[in-house]
C-alpha cells in the first residue's frame, strides 16, 4: 500500500483488454451462445417487424372461421374469435420483449448502484440492507409482484417497475459480492490515496471491473423477467388485452384444452419456452466464458 505503482495499473488495463477480447472470442465460438443468440434475434425481428410480415391481421376477428385447426390458410389455426394464431404468435413477441428488457434495465441500474454502495462502504448500512434484502428474497417473485400490482393497479408501466424493483435486490447481492472482492485490489487503495471521492472510486474505478459479472447477472435476470412477465400475464396481472401477448393468449385459451383445441395454446407455449431457453443458453455461455 506504500507507493502503489501507478504504471502497473495502466499495464493491467492492457492485459484486461486483451483478456476481454479473448473471452469474447471464446463466447462467439460457443455453440450454446450462437443457438441462443439466433433464437433471440429471430424473436426480436418478429417484435420489430412482425406486424409488417405476418400473412393476416393478428387483431382481425373472423366469426365464420373460429377455432379452425391448422390448415394451409391458417398455419397455426384460428382462435375463439377466428383470429389467425400464427400471426398472433409472431406479433405476440412484442410486448414481452419490451416489458422484460425494460424491467431488467431498471433492476440492473438500481441493483448495481445498491450493490456498489453496500460492497464499498460496508458497515451498518450494508448490514441493514442485507437483512432487508434477505427478507424480501423470502417471497417468491410472482407473489411479491402480485402484492405490489394489486396495490398499485395493473398497467404495463407498473409491471415494468414492479418486476424491476423486485429483481434489484438480487442483482445488488451479486454486485455486492463482486465489489467486496474488488475493493481489496491495489487500484482502489491507489484511488483512495489520491483522495478520490467515494462516488468516483465506486463508479469510475470499481464499476468497469465488475461490469462483466453484472452483465452476466443481467442476462440471467432477463430470462427470469420473461418468466415473470409471462406468468403474470397468464394469471391476468401482466400484459392486458387486446395484446396478442403469449402469456395472455394462453390465459384466455387454456380452458379450451379439454375440448381438444390444442393449437390455441401450444404455439404460444412453445414461443415462451424457446425465448426463455434461448436467453438462458446465452447467459450460460457468458458465464462459462467469464469463468474460464
Amino acid at each position: 500500500m506504500s507507493d502503489a505503482p501507478l504504471p502497473l495499473v495502466a499495464s493491467d488495463g492492457g492485459a484486461a483488454a486483451r483478456e476481454r477480447r479473448e473471452r469474447l472470442r471464446v463466447l462467439l465460438r460457443s455453440p450454446t451462445f450462437l443457438v441462443g443468440a439466433a433464437i433471440i434475434l429471430f424473436w426480436v425481428f418478429c417484435a420489430l417487424f412482425g406486424e409488417a410480415v405476418v400473412p393476416l391481421d393478428p387483431y382481425a376477428d373472423d366469426m365464420m372461421n373460429y377455432l379452425m385447426p391448422p390448415s394451409a390458410e391458417h398455419w397455426f389455426g384460428t382462435d375463439q374469435l377466428g383470429r389467425d394464431v400464427f400471426s398472433r404468435v409472431i406479433v405476440g413477441s412484442r410486448d414481452i420483449l419490451t416489458v422484460a428488457p425494460l424491467a431488467t434495465l431498471i433492476s440492473t441500474l438500481a441493483g448495481a448502484a445498491l450493490g456498489l454502495v453496500m460492497g464499498y462502504y460496508r458497515g451498518w448500512a450494508d448490514e441493514i440492507l442485507s437483512r432487508v434484502i434477505d427478507a424480501m428474497l423470502a417471497l417468491p417473485t410472482i407473489v411479491i409482484a402480485l402484492l405490489a400490482l394489486v396495490a398499485l393497479g395493473t398497467s404495463t408501466i407498473t409491471v415494468v417497475l414492479v418486476i424491476g424493483f423486485t429483481f434489484a435486490p438480487i442483482i445488488a447481492k451479486t454486485v455486492r459480492a463482486a465489489v467486496l472482492a474488488e475493493r481489496e485490489v491495489e487500484y482502489v487503495a491507489a484511488a483512495e490515496l489520491r483522495r478520490e471521492s467515494g462516488l468516483y472510486v465506486m463508479f469510475i474505478e470499481i464499476l468497469p471491473n465488475v461490469a462483466a459479472p453484472i452483465l452476466v447477472e443481467a442476462t440471467i435476470r432477463l430470462g427470469y423477467a420473461i418468466f415473470a412477465v409471462a406468468t403474470l400475464s397468464f394469471i391476468g396481472f401482466g400484459i392486458q388485452p387486446p395484446s396478442p401477448d403469449w402469456g395472455l393468449s394462453i390465459s384466455t385459451n387454456y380452458g379450451l384444452l379439454t375440448g381438444g383445441y390444442w393449437w390455441t395454446v401450444l404455439f404460444d407455449s412453445l414461443a415462451i419456452a424457446s425465448l426463455v431457453v434461448a436467453v438462458n443458453l446465452v447467459a450460460d455461455a457468458m458465464q462459462a466464458a467469464l469463468h474460464d
Binding site: 450454446t32 437483512r131 432487508v132 434477505d134 427478507a135 424480501m136 428474497l137 423470502a138 417471497l139 417468491p140 417473485t141 410472482i142 407473489v143 411479491i144 402480485l146 402484492l147 405490489a148 400490482l149 394489486v150 396495490a151 398499485l152 393497479g153 430470462g223 427470469y224 418468466f227 409471462a230 406468468t231 397468464f234 394469471i235 391476468g236 396481472f237 402469456g247 394462453i250 387454456y254 384444452l257 379439454t258 381438444g260 390444442w262 395454446v265 401450444l266 407455449s269 415462451i272 419456452a273 426463455v276 431457453v277 436467453v279 438462458n280 443458453l281 450460460d284
Partner: protein, 317 residues
C-alpha cells in the same frame, strides 16, 4: 452447535419481522388509499371512507401495524374483506393442500436431481453431462404453467392417462390422491431438477478430486464403494441448502400451477385474493408463504450444521 443454532434462530426471528414490515408496507402504504384501491376509482368517496373505517385503515400506520402483527402472532390473521369471515382457516387449509403438492414434488425431485448430478459428475465433459446440465438448466427457466400445459396436452388430453384437475374426490385414498397430484407436480420437478443436479454435480466433482478419495482408492476400496461412502456424503451437504433455497421457487410456482390445475392451495388463494383485492387475505397468505420459506431455510441450516462435523463439534462455521 448450540451457539450456531441460537444465532440462526435469532436471525430467523429478525428476518420474519422484516418480512412482516415489507408485506405490511406493500399492502398498506403502496396503495395510498386502501379503501380506494379495493373499491376502484369510481366508488363513492363516502363508501371508501366507510370501508377504511371498517378495515381500520384510517388509523395511524404504526397502530395498524402493531394491531395486525399482534393479532397474527396470536393466530388471528384478520377478517377477509370478500367473505366477511376470519382469514386464518382459509390460509391454513390452503397451506395444507399446497404442502401436500410441494411434498410430492420434493419427494420426486430430490432423488432425481441427486442422481442426475452424480451421473453428470461421473461423466463430466461427456455428452451425458451436457444433456443433464444444459437440459436441466433449460427446464429450470421454462415457466411452470408452460410445462404444465404441455403435460396436460400430452398426458391428459391426448393419452388420457392422468386427470386434468388436481382436486381428487373427497374420499380418495392416498394413491388416488397422488395420481391427481402427479401432473401438477411435474412442472415443479422440472423447475427444481436443474439446480439440485447442478449443485450435486459441483460437489461431486470436487469430492471425486479430493485427497480423501485418493486415500480411499489407495487403501483398496472399490470405486463404487468409495463413491458411495465418501464422495457422495460430502457432495450432498451443499445440496441440502440448495433444496431449501429452491423452496422459494417452489412456492412461487404454486400460484400458476394451482390456477392451471384448479387446485385449492395457497397459490390459488393468493390469486383469488389478488383478483378480489382482498387485502387482509392477500397479506396473510403472502406472509405465511414467506414464513414457510424462512422456516425451511432455518431447518436446512440446522440440518446442515448437524450433518457437518466441523460445525457440530464446535469450531464455528
Amino acid at each position: 452447535m448450540l451457539k450456531v443454532a441460537l444465532r440462526r434462530f435469532l436471525l430467523f426471528v429478525l428476518t420474519l419481522w422484516l418480512l412482516s414490515i415489507i408485506v405490511f408496507l406493500a399492502s398498506h402504504v403502496l396503495p395510498g388509499n386502501v379503501g380506494r384501491a379495493m373499491l376502484g376509482p369510481f366508488a363513492d368517496p363516502r363508501a371508501v371512507d366507510q370501508l377504511n373505517h371498517e378495515l381500520g385503515t384510517d388509523r395511524p400506520l404504526l397502530a395498524q401495524y402493531a394491531d395486525w402483527l399482534g393479532g397474527f402472532v396470536q393466530g388471528d390473521m384478520g377478517d377477509s374483506f370478500a367473505m366477511r369471515q376470519p382469514v386464518a382457516p382459509f390460509v391454513w387449509n390452503a397451506l395444507g393442500n399446497s404442502l401436500r403438492l410441494a411434498l410430492l414434488a420434493l419427494v420426486l425431485v430430490v432423488p432425481l436431481g441427486i442422481l442426475g448430478g452424480v451421473l453428470a459428475a461421473l461423466f463430466v465433459g461427456r455428452p451425458l453431462d451436457r444433456v443433464i446440465t444444459v437440459g436441466g438448466l433449460s427446464a429450470a427457466v421454462v415457466p411452470e404453467f408452460i410445462s404444465g400445459i404441455v403435460l396436460i396436452l400430452i398426458f391428459g388430453v391426448w393419452l388420457k392417462w392422468l386427470p386434468l384437475s388436481a382436486a381428487a374426490p373427497a374420499d380418495a385414498g392416498l394413491l388416488v390422491q397422488i395420481k391427481y397430484l402427479l401432473l401438477p407436480s411435474i412442472p415443479l420437478v422440472l423447475v427444481l431438477f436443474g439446480y439440485i443436479a447442478r449443485m450435486t454435480r459441483a460437489g461431486m466433482i470436487e469430492a471425486l478430486d479430493s485427497d480423501y478419495m485418493r486415500t480411499a482408492m489407495l487403501k483398496g476400496l472399490k470405486r463404487s464403494t468409495a463413491i458411495r461412502r465418501h464422495a457422495l456424503r460430502n457432495a450432498l451437504l451443499p445440496t441440502i441448502s440448495v433444496v431449501a433455497t429452491q423452496t422459494v421457487y417452489l412456492l412461487g410456482g404454486l400460484v400458476a400451477i394451482e390456477v392451471l390445475f384448479h387446485y385449492r392451495g395457497i397459490g390459488s388463494l393468493i390469486y383469488t385474493a389478488a383478483q378480489k383485492k382482498d387485502f387482509p387475505m392477500l397479506q396473510a397468505a403472502v406472509l405465511v408463504v414467506g414464513a414457510v420459506f424462512i422456516l425451511a431455510s432455518l431447518a436446512a441450516d440446522l440440518i446442515y450444521a448437524w450433518l457437518n462435523p466441523r460445525i457440530r463439534l464446535g469450531g464455528g462455521e
